[in-house]
Symmetry: C2
Subunit: 475 residues, 2 copies
C-alpha cells in the first residue's frame, strides 16, 4: 500500500497538536493565507459545514425560529450600552476606524457577537404581548481578535449561528434556553456522534452579561475539553438597558426576558479530534459530504462499468458517493480515502468480480468485508447506520474511561498531574476554591453536575459541598 | 376594506423612491439600526434571499462548482498586488486599524470583493493541468463604503455570492464567463420573472481589473436600469500578478485564465421595483416564501376547519402556505396580504361554504375567482404557474415599450429629456462619445448589443458606428 500520505501525518500519541493540524491540512479541510489568524475553509471542509448548517437550520425552523441578518458592524456607543457585556468583549474586537479615505467620527467594531444589535432591533419591534415570543436566528461570521489561533478551534473569524430570543416571562425564556441546549445535544449525538456533557457554567465561567450559561462539553481524544456550544439565559437586564418594554394583557408595561445560543465551525474541530486516527479524518456518516468512495482497481472495462453501476445505485438511494478512477495507484487512492475519512470504501477488482462480489472497507475500524454485488445497496445502508452507532459508542466509552472522581485535594492533584480527562469533585460553590484549583493545577471548571446527589466536603476547602462539578483542561 | 396599511404606501407615480422605501419597510423586509449605511434584513426579506440562494446554489453545483470560505479581511499589501483592481476599490473600503487594544502593523480592509484572496490561494494549490479547472464559489458579506445608501440597491454591506474560477485556456475561461451569465439569466427569468438584457459592458464601465465584463441589465418600473449581476473574464493578468502557473501536458509552465461572477441581495430590489404596485410587494410564485395565504372570515367552526384542511392539502402538495386567523378584521388581513405580496390569497367565508367554494384572489392582477373546494389543489397549482408567466410577460411588455431607438443626437436628447427607459443607438466605440453623452444627458452606457447589425453613423460624433448600444439612467 502506497501510504506516503498517511506517513506524512504525525502520530496522535506522539504530538496531538501536530497530528490535528496535519489532518486539517492533509484532508484538504483548510489552508492558510496572508491574513494572519484567519483560515481558508476549503471545499471539503466547507461541505461538512454546509451539512451541519442544513440539519441545524431545519431543527431551528421546526422549533419555530426565523432567520434574520443583522449588520456586520457595531458602533462603539452601542457596544457600550450593557456594562458586563462590553467589559467581556471590548479587549478582543477588531476596530474599523476609516471608511474610504475618511476617518470615522465613531469607530465601529466588527461584531464579536450580536446581542446589542438584536436588542436595539427588538426595542423597535416589540410593543405588545402579541409580539412575543420573538425567535430569531442568524448565520454569520463573527470576529474576535485572538492572539493564538488553531484551525476551527480558535480563529479570528468564526462562522457560526447565534439565536437571540425574547419572551414574555422568565419561565418561557429559561425553557427556551434548555430547549436549544437540547437541540444542540441531539444534533451532536445523532449527527456528529459526539457524546457531550451538558450543564451549567459557574458564575466565573459564564458568558459576559448572561444570568446563566449552559454548555456542551466534549472530550477530545487526548482528554482535553472542548466547549462545543453554549445556551444563555439573560434574564431581563439587557432588555432593561435597551428599554425594551411591552404592554401585557392587562395593558401594563413589562420588560421581556431574553436568551441567546450558538454553535460554530468549532464543531468540525470536535469531530476531527474525537474520531480521527493516525491515518487521518474519520467522519460520522450522518455528516459526511461523501459517504461512500468507490475505487476500481485496474483498467478492466467490466470493473469500470460495475463501479459506475454501483455509484448509480447508491445515488438513487440518496447515498452520496464518489467514483475515484483517477490515473493513480490503488494504494494512493486508498490512502487518500483514509486521510479524507470517507465512512465506507468500496474496492472493485477483477478477482472480486469473478465471485460477483466487492470488498467494503469501514473507515472507523478498517475492517474488510466481502459483499455480493446484488446486496450492496442494502449492506451499505445498514453499515452506515452501524458505523454511526459504533463511532458514538466508542467515543462514549473512551470518554467515560477518562472521567475520574477525586475525594480530596491530594487525589485531585495526583489525577491532574498524571492523567488526561475530566475530574469530578465536590465543590462548595465558592469562586476562591475554583480559582485555587485553576492556579494550582491548571484546570478549569467545565460545568456543574445537576443530576447527582452531593454529600461530603468541598474537595478544596473542606467546607460543606453544594454541588458536584467537572474540572478539566480546555482548548 | 380596511386599507390603512395600503394608504401608508406612497403612490409609485407620485414618488417612486419613497414608494420603494415604503414597500421595503411596510412589507417587513428591512429595518434600520444605529449602524449607518447598513440594513437589517428582517425574516420575511431574508426568507426571499434564502430561496434565491437555494436555487442558485443548486444551479452552481450542477455546473460543477464547489463552495469555499475565504477570510473576511484583506491586508493592504495583498489588495495592492493588482494595480487596476486596487485603484477601483481602495477609495471605497472599510479599514480595520486596531485589533483589541493594539494598533495593527498593517491595516486590513474588510473585503469589497475577493479576487486577490482567491488568487493567493490558487497560487498555492494549482501546480498541474490536472488541477484545472478550479471552480469555486463563495457566499458571503462584502463591504463597500457607500455615501448614499438604499435598501438592497446600495448598502455598505452586501450579501452576495462570488464565483472565482481558473482555467487552462482562455477559451475555457470565456466559455465559463458566458455559462454563468446564462445561469443568472435563466434564474432571473424563470424564478424572479425578470426580463433582463444581457451584454458586454464598455471599456469604461467594466469591472476594475477585468478584460471583459458582461452584465444583466434589468429595467425598473420607472424606466431606470438596475445592473443585476455581472460575469467577468479576467484573461491571465491577475494570474501573472500572483505568479499562478501550472505544468501543461507537455511539462511546460503556463499561466491559467480566470473568471469571476456575482449576484447579490440587490436582486430583491429588482423584484420589488419591477413587479410591485401601489398596494405593496408582488412576489413571483417561484421565489415567494409563502405562496398562498389562507384567510378565514369570521369565527365559524366549519370555516376554520375547512381553512385548516386547505392548508394541509397545499402543504402535502409542497405549496408553502400560511393560515392567517389572527383576531383582526378581514380587511386588515387582506391589506396585509397585499402589502406582503403573497401570490395567492384564499378567502373563506360562511357564504362561500354554502356553495362548496372559496374565493381566490391573484395578487398580480387582483382578480377574484370562485373555486370549488375539491378543485383547490389543482387550481392553485395551475394558477401559480399562470401568475409566474403573466408577471414575466407583463414586465417584458412594459420594458419593451420603454426601449427607444434614436437615429441622431437630437432624437437621443429629446428622448433622454422627455422619456424614461433605455435608448438604443449606434456608437463608434470611442469613449469620448460615451463621456459626452453621459455629461450632456446624464445617462450611462448599459451594454453593447451583439445580435443586431449596425449600419450608419455614431449617434454622437457621426463617424462610422461599430456597434449598437443601450444607454439609460441607473441606480
Amino acid at each position: 500500500m502506497d501510504d506516503k500520505q498517511v506517513k506524512e501525518i504525525t502520530s496522535r500519541n506522539e504530538d496531538f497538536g501536530k497530528w490535528y493540524t496535519d489532518v486539517c491540512k492533509k484532508a484538504d479541510l483548510v489552508d492558510y493565507s496572508s491574513v494572519k489568524g484567519s483560515m481558508i475553509i476549503r471545499p471539503y471542509g466547507y461541505a461538512i459545514w454546509e451539512n451541519m448548517q442544513a440539519v441545524l437550520d431545519k431543527m431551528f425552523k421546526e422549533t419555530g425560529h426565523e432567520n434574520i441578518q443583522m449588520p456586520l458592524f457595531i458602533p462603539e456607543s452601542l457596544l457600550n450600552v450593557e456594562k458586563d457585556h462590553v467589559k467581556g468583549f471590548a479587549p478582543e474586537v477588531a476596530w474599523v476606524t476609516q471608511g474610504g479615505n475618511e476617518e470615522l467620527d465613531e469607530r465601529m467594531c466588527v461584531r464579536p457577537t450580536s446581542e446589542v444589535l438584536f436588542c436595539e432591533h427588538y426595542s423597535k419591534i416589540i410593543k405588545s404581548y402579541r409580539d412575543l415570543p420573538k425567535l430569531y436566528n442568524q448565520w454569520c461570521t463573527i470576529v474576535r481578535w485572538e492572539k493564538e489561533t488553531r484551525p476551527f478551534l480558535r480563529s479570528r473569524e468564526i462562522l457560526w449561528q447565534e439565536g437571540h430570543t425574547m419572551h414574555a416571562t422568565s419561565e418561557e425564556a429559561k425553557e427556551e434556553t434548555l430547549r436549544m441546549l437540547g437541540v444542540y445535544e441531539k444534533f451532536q449525538r445523532d449527527y456528529l456522534a459526539l457524546p457531550v456533557i451538558v450543564g451549567k457554567k459557574t458564575e466565573k465561567e459564564k458568558f459576559a452579561g448572561a444570568v446563566e450559561t449552559y454548555t456542551l462539553e466534549a472530550m477530545m481524544y487526548n482528554g482535553v475539553a472542548l466547549q462545543n456550544g453554549t445556551s444563555h439565559y439573560f434574564g431581563n437586564h439587557f432588555a432593561k438597558a435597551f428599554n425594551i418594554e411591552f404592554l401585557n394583557k392587562d395593558n401594563k408595561l413589562e420588560t421581556p426576558y431574553q436568551t441567546s445560543w450558538g454553535v460554530s465551525t468549532r464543531m468540525i474541530g470536535a469531530v476531527i479530534m474525537t474520531h480521527g486516527d493516525d491515518r487521518g479524518l474519520v467522519l460520522p456518516p450522518n455528516i459526511a459530504p461523501i459517504k461512500v468512495i468507490i475505487i476500481p482497481i485496474g483498467n478492466d472495462e467490466k470493473v469500470l462499468s460495475v463501479s459506475n453501476n454501483i455509484s448509480e445505485i447508491l445515488t438513487k438511494k440518496l447515498i452520496s458517493n464518489k467514483l475515484d478512477n483517477r490515473d493513480k495507484t490503488p494504494g494512493f487512492r486508498f490512502a487518500e480515502a483514509e486521510v479524507k475519512g470517507y465512512p465506507i470504501r468500496i474496492e472493485i477488482g477483477k478477482r472480486d468480480l469473478k465471485m460477483d462480489s466487492v470488498t467494503i472497507v469501514r473507515r472507523d475500524t478498517l475492517e474488510k468485508i466481502t459483499v455480493k454485488i446484488d446486496e450492496i445497496s442494502e449492506k451499505v445502508t445498514e453499515l452506515l447506520k452501524t458505523i454511526q452507532k459504533d463511532m458514538y459508542d466508542k467515543a462514549l466509552a473512551r470518554r467515560d474511561s477518562m472521567i475520574y472522581e477525586a475525594k480530596n485535594y491530594e487525589e485531585m492533584k495526583e489525577i491532574a498531574t498524571t492523567k488526561s480527562g475530566f475530574i469530578k469533585v465536590n465543590w462548595c460553590g465558592n469562586q476562591e476554591c475554583e480559582d485555587k484549583i485553576k492556579d494550582d493545577l491548571g484546570i478549569k471548571s467545565r460545568c456543574l453536575i445537576d443530576d447527582e446527589k452531593v454529600d461530603g466536603p468541598c474537595v478544596c476547602c473542606g467546607k460543606k459541598a453544594v454541588t458536584k462539578i467537572y474540572f478539566g483542561k480546555q482548548y
